[in-house]
Structures are given as C-alpha cells and as structure tokens.
Symmetry: C2
Subunit: 439 residues, 2 copies
C-alpha cells in the first residue's frame, strides 16, 4: 500500500479546492460538521470511534511532487492557474477541530466532529474523515451489541479475513476493542495499538499431522497451558476426548461449526469427566449478536465467543448515513450560517454543540448553554496542532463501557430499541426556519 494519504479522497474535493483558490476564497473561514443523518435498523445509539485515525490523517496531510504532477495531468484541472499547484505543494491543515471523544455513545443528527478553517482545508478532508469515522463507528457499535449479547462472557474479534481489506481489519479490531471485545486475532492491531491478541491453531494444523492426537500433543508442546484445541476438524466428540487424552493442563477448546449449544454441552461433560473443569469452551463460526444471545439464553456452557465476519463487516448494517456538511461560511468577512435545503435531505445550519443532560441530549447552537447539560464536543486541534495528548486506548474503552451502561436498557435492546431522547434547541430551530424562509 502506497504510504501517502493525500490522494485518498474524491476528485471533487480537489477540484473544489482549486475553484475556491481561483475564486479568491482560499482564506475564507468555513466550518463543516460530520454527523450521522439517521441510524440503521435495530440501532438507537452509535459508539463514536475513529477520531485518532482522522486526526493522524488531518495533521499529516500534504501533497508530494508526484501526486501534484498526477493531478496537473488530469484534464479537469487544465484551466487551473499554476499558482494553485504552489498552494497545494505548501498545503497543511491549519484549522481547528472539535470532536466527541472516542467511545462516546452518540445519536442520529448529532455532530461528532467539527472542522473550522480555511475553506479548501476543511473541504479536502471530507472524504477521508467520512470514510474512516463511519467505518470505525460502525464496527465499534456492532461490537458493543455483540458484547451486550454475550452478557459477561468474553468476546474476541476474529474477522480480519472477511474485513474489507486487511487494513480495515486493523482499524476494525481497534474499534471492536473500544466496543468491548477482549481482544483480536489481528496481530498488527496488537503491534500498533497494544490490543491483546488471541489465536492458537486452525483446522489445517490438525490436518497437517498424521492424526489428531499427534496434532494436539504438538500444539501442547508449543503452547503449554495456553493451548486451545480446535475440536471440529473431524469429529467434535472424538476431538474433545483427544484433547483430554493429551493429559496436560490446557486453557480450553474451540468449537467452530455445527450445533454449538449441543456440542458445548457434550464437550463440557467430556472435559469435566476427565477432570478438566477449568478448561474453557470457546465458540465461533458465523456468530452475531442474535445467535450469541440465543446461546446465552439457552444456557450453553460457552465461556468465550469468537466473532468474525458479522462483526468485521457489521453485516446487518454495513454502512451509516454519514454526512459532512458546510454549516457556516465567511461572506464579506462575516460568518454566516448555511445549510443544504434539498427536499428529502436537508441539513441543519450553524455551528452546533451537543449538550448531554441526564437521560437526554439537546442539539443547540455553540453559543447556547443548558443547565445540567454538559457540552460533548471538545477542542482537540487548534490552528493545526493537537490541544492535548490523545487518551490511552484503555481510557477510551473504559469510557465506552461506563457510558453504555448509563444508557437505558431499552435503548440498548438488540431488536427494536427505543430511540434516545434528542431534541433540537429553539434557537437552532429558529435559525433553520429563518434560513429556509430567507431564500
């Protein structure tokens, strides 16, 4: 993968940047807000995630000479005056960012991120910020649902092989950890973020030896009491007996196919009878929050769940209606609120803040305040520099856990959850009406 990120964007961000520059608007201050227009089915909250990667992009953003040469060669830029390329070669993000902290539950219509700065700088960031924040928020939210379903049993994220590229697997693993998973199988996520990594052996391991007993003995020699035996290469019952027959302490066993409830009961009995009462049972194989909840309800003796494909792709809701909208723009030296007013996709004008009270949110204008409700968006970048050190991942994960626990259970319900009460302030509604009427 090419190392630079400047061209990881939609072409129109760059044609617009050229146009703003050409129209003498490259120093005009603009504010964009990133929000999720509406939530997918069976979601009444989202876990905001992706800020760190978004800021890393923003603060690193620069165009190198081969990238600029490529752009200059595109017919769409043929009428751009050469000064724009000088501008682009010196381009850095010099604006401000306000954001909701990673791991915070948020709701439809609430800005998660607000970028203010010279118009082209705030514009160019749109595509990358939308993509990375939408995806990571999607996965953190899916993980929170799966962890909720597991009701205290551990969940390990296993989905890199089905993630939308291995690179998505890494950021997805981080998001899943924030959402409450105990760790991941993705080694790069462990290396980069310090997330606990898990994994012992696949079916191929068992096949690679002359017999399952030999394969299990060899695994035990490698991993000692950390061994988890995968039981379903040939036959689960025989697999469980072979695991016990190794005769050494081991951490557990994994089931990866078939009727997980029946198999877990069978295997539990075999392990208990052989004196391995402490050995854990892990289950995997196309698990999602519904299937995990059903296994938990049935009392299946499963200690850990491995969640792969469904988690790594947020399979029931693989995208979010994320938007990045211009809400304020300088005109004649004065900041003016603005909004798109298409019939079915309007947006809210003005620089906004989310005020979180006990059991409700208010989306209002930045200048407002509400007794008992604290502002959620905080400054993270000022004039192109980070305001503070990024929080530790453990802190983000702890915040998610604590704040999710405060949501009403009806909001966290896996199916048909109740919407969380979010209202728009009177001032914001008045501004919106005024802008609509003024056209």
């Amino acid at each position: 993968m090419h190392d630079m990120k400047a061209l990881l964007t939609d072409l129109y961000e760059l044609t617009m940047a050229a146009g703003y520059w050409q129209a003498g608007k490259s120093a005009e201050r603009a504010t964009f807000e990133l929000s999720i227009r509406r939530l997918p089915a069976n979601r009444s909250y989202l876990l905001a995630t992706g800020l760190e990667e978004a800021l890393a992009y923003l603060l690193d953003l620069a165009f190198n000479p081969p990238e600029i040469d490529y752009l200059r060669s595109q017919p769409v830029f043929s009428q751009v005056s050469p000064g724009f390329w000088d501008y682009l070669s010196r381009f850095r993000f010099t604006g401000d960012v306000w954001a909701v902290g990673e791991g915070t539950p948020v709701f439809a219509g609430e800005p998660l991120l607000r970028i203010s700065g010279p118009l082209p700088e705030a514009q160019i960031a749109e595509t990358y910020l939308l993509s990375t924040i939408t995806f990571q928020t999607l996965i953190a939210t899916k993980a929170a649902r799966i962890v909720e379903a597991a009701a205290g049993r551990g969940v390990v994220e296993f989905g890199t092989r089905r993630a939308h590229t291995p690179q998505a697997g890494v950021l997805g693993a981080r998001a899943a950890y924030i959402g409450g998973c105990m760790g991941t199988s993705n080694v790069e996520a462990g290396y980069r973020f310090g997330i606990p990594v898990y994994g012992t052996a696949a079916h191929s391991w068992t096949q690679a030896f002359d017999s399952e007993p030999e394969a299990f003995c060899r695994l035990q020699q490698l991993l000692g009491d950390r061994t988890i035996y995968l039981l379903d290469t040939y036959d689960v019952e025989a697999g469980a007996r072979n695991a016990a027959a190794v005769g050494q302490p081991f951490l557990g066993v994994r089931l990866d196919s078939g009727d997980l409830e029946a198999q877990s009961r069978l295997v539990r009995r075999i392990l208990d009878d052989a004196g391995y009462r402490e050995a854990r049972i892990m289950a995997s194989g196309d698990l999602n929050e519904q299937r995990i909840a059903a296994l938990v309800r049935a009392g299946a003796p499963i200690d850990w769940f491995g969640a792969g494909t469904e988690l790594a792709t947020s399979a029931d809701a693989p995208h979010l209606a994320s938007i990045y909208k211009l809400v304020e723009i300088e005109r004649g030296g004065q900041p003016r609120p603005t909004a798109k007013r298409s019939a079915d996709k309007p947006s809210w004008p003005g620089i906004k803040q989310v005020f979180r009270g006990p059991g409700y949110d208010i989306v209002g204008l930045e200048c407002e305040s509400f007794a008992g409700a604290a502002p959620l968006l905080e400054p993270v970048v000022e004039r192109g520099r980070r305001v503070a050190e990024p929080p530790a991942l453990s802190q983000i994960r702890g915040r998610a856990r604590a704040q999710l626990a405060e949501l009403p259970a009806a909001c966290r319900r896996l199916e048909n959850p109740e919407p969380y009460p979010v209202r728009y302030s009177e001032k914001l509604q008045a501004l919106c009406a005024q802008l609509g009427a003024s056209r």
Copy 2:
C-alpha cells in the same frame, strides 16, 4: 498506515508457523486452495478479483526486527525455541501460485487460487489472501450487477466515503472498474492504477458562494465544457434554470436526491428548451442495481449513474463465505490429499483444477483433463517469482466484460438468478469418499 504487511494476519497463522517449525515440518510441502463455499442471495456468479494485490503481498512478505521483537514479547510464543525467530527473520515466500485470472467469472466451490510451498509459508498467507480477495471479488461482482442494471448507461463508482476505510476505497475502485464501471471518484485509484477519475463539485460548493448562479458561473470558469452542475442544493428546477443561464457549453448536471425519475424528466425538458440537448444528466444518491433497473425500465432520461455506498460496501451482501483450505500435505516424503470433515462445513481434498467447457464447469483433480474444457487455474508464481508480467488493467476489464457476456442471461439476472452448471468429477468424488471412509 504502517507500511509493512507481515503482521496484517491472524495470530494463529504465526503460532502455527512456529509449531510447524518446531515440529520439524517447515520444509514439508503443502497446498492450500482458496474458494468461496457458497454464494450470497441473488448471486449466481462472482467476478474473481484481487489477485494482483494478493501477489504483491505474497512476494513482498517479510518480517522486520521490530515486528519480530513484538512477536517474541507475546506470551503465546514463550515456549518457542529461538531458532524460529532466525527462521522468521529470513522468511520469504518461495512457493508456487496458480490462479484464475482477475476478471474471470467463477462459481461456488471453485478454487480461485492455489498456493503450494513449504507448510509455514503457505499457512501464513491465509488471512491476508482471504481478506483482500474476498473483498475485491465482492465489489467487482456488485459492480457487474449495477452495470448490468444500467443497461449501457455509464456507471461511476463514488463510494470511498462509505467504504470500510479510505484504503478499501482504493482497492474497491479498482474492483468496480474491473466489474465495468467507467471510472471512480477516488483519486488514489487513478494515481495508482490509471483508472479514469471523475468529480466536479459538492453541495458545499454551491453553499460557499452568495448565490447558486454565482457558484455555477465560478464552476464554469474552472471547468469549462467539463462542468457538471449539481442541481439539488436548494431546488432542482431553479438549479436547472441556473445551469442553463450560465450561457456556456457544459458537460452535464447531477441530481443527488428526491424522485430521480420525475426530476430527470423535468431537467431534461428545461435543458432541451434552453438548447442544451447534448448536456448529460447524471443521477446519484443511494443507488443500487434494483433502483437503477427501475429508473431504466421507467425510461428516465438519465445518462450516467453514480453508485456510492451500496457499491463500495456491497450492501446487500457485504461478505462472502471464502475459505482457504489445506488440500494436500507431504507425509513421510509423499504428497497426501487431505480435507476437513466437519459435519456442516466439509471441504474437498486434493489439488484441484477448474475445467471450463462451453456452458458448464467441471471441478476435478489437477491431473485430469476433459475434452472441450480448458483449465482455468494457471501458474502465476513459480518458486517465489512471477511467471509473467501482470496483465494490464484494461485487459482484465475487457476479459470481465467478454466473459460476463457469455454467461446465460438467466445467470446474470439481478434477482433469483439460475445457478450455473458446475459438477465435480468422478475421480474427485471418489477421492472424497475414500478419505471419508478411511478415517
């Protein structure tokens, strides 16, 4: 994004590699095959894509000292003898790869890729290969469906902002181009792969000026006759009149919300009446193959479609049941076919080949041949080196187009397509029965 890819894998690939090494099996030759176990709803073919990225990974794969230090620090490796780390520091892929060419239609159960080499080398590649090939195949297939629905009208891929990371947007754009899209909005995909890039302006452009007429004039000054005006920032009808009122030649207009059929008719009339009969109408906004087919059936005067979210995430089928299975392993110096035999997820043993005849496929053993049917898997890497130059992207795209056209229309139908006839050879079935019976 960290530049190296060696840790973009599941931990168990590396624990198994350590175990194979420790068990003296690191020189034993093994063969794995990558296939798709079953197809998602409404798919009866897939467009194999991702081979180039897969080979780039495989031929580059190496572990650097900080990566090895990280692995050594993991408790799961605490019993591994130090020689393994020397082995890993010298690790390169030295095996062979056979593959179906990118842009080839394939069916459930057919190997797309076959890796033969020393056991740990072929094992370690599993996670990355599955992820990148599954994802790209998913998107190329979704693109082919959307292009089919567009029935000759152009389709541009617009989905990076909703792709599962911007990096997935790049590889997705390439896959969509192979699947028949005319280009992408993703600039990096243009830069890296030479794919045509498209894009003019967003709603924020229109909002950033004092009025829509001013915004349109400025856009025309920037883009000349390549201008595409976005009409739905405030009101589509007024937008169309404002576009015509600029009074200069332009390429077209874009509609991004509302009733696209009604709007396209209204806008066509306004443009025609103003003498802009050549101006194209582009439509976008949550389009998928069903919505595009409905617009085409209704005769909406739309020339180009922009497909974003639904394409970039393959929203109706965001994952494939891809597997990477050990099919042959050396035992006592002799190659021996092997398979996993779990009750509900069995796999087919032996080194296989896909034989493509006119109107049917046969999955058989590599050593077989069938009159009138040509082998689909070809050698692409021998002893760690590419056999030939990679085909040009235009050639891959042309292959996809030609071979899709040869599929029966009933197989390409958007809903409830007929399965393509694929049979398993008698020798393969016999081998499978023999292995099953021999346990």
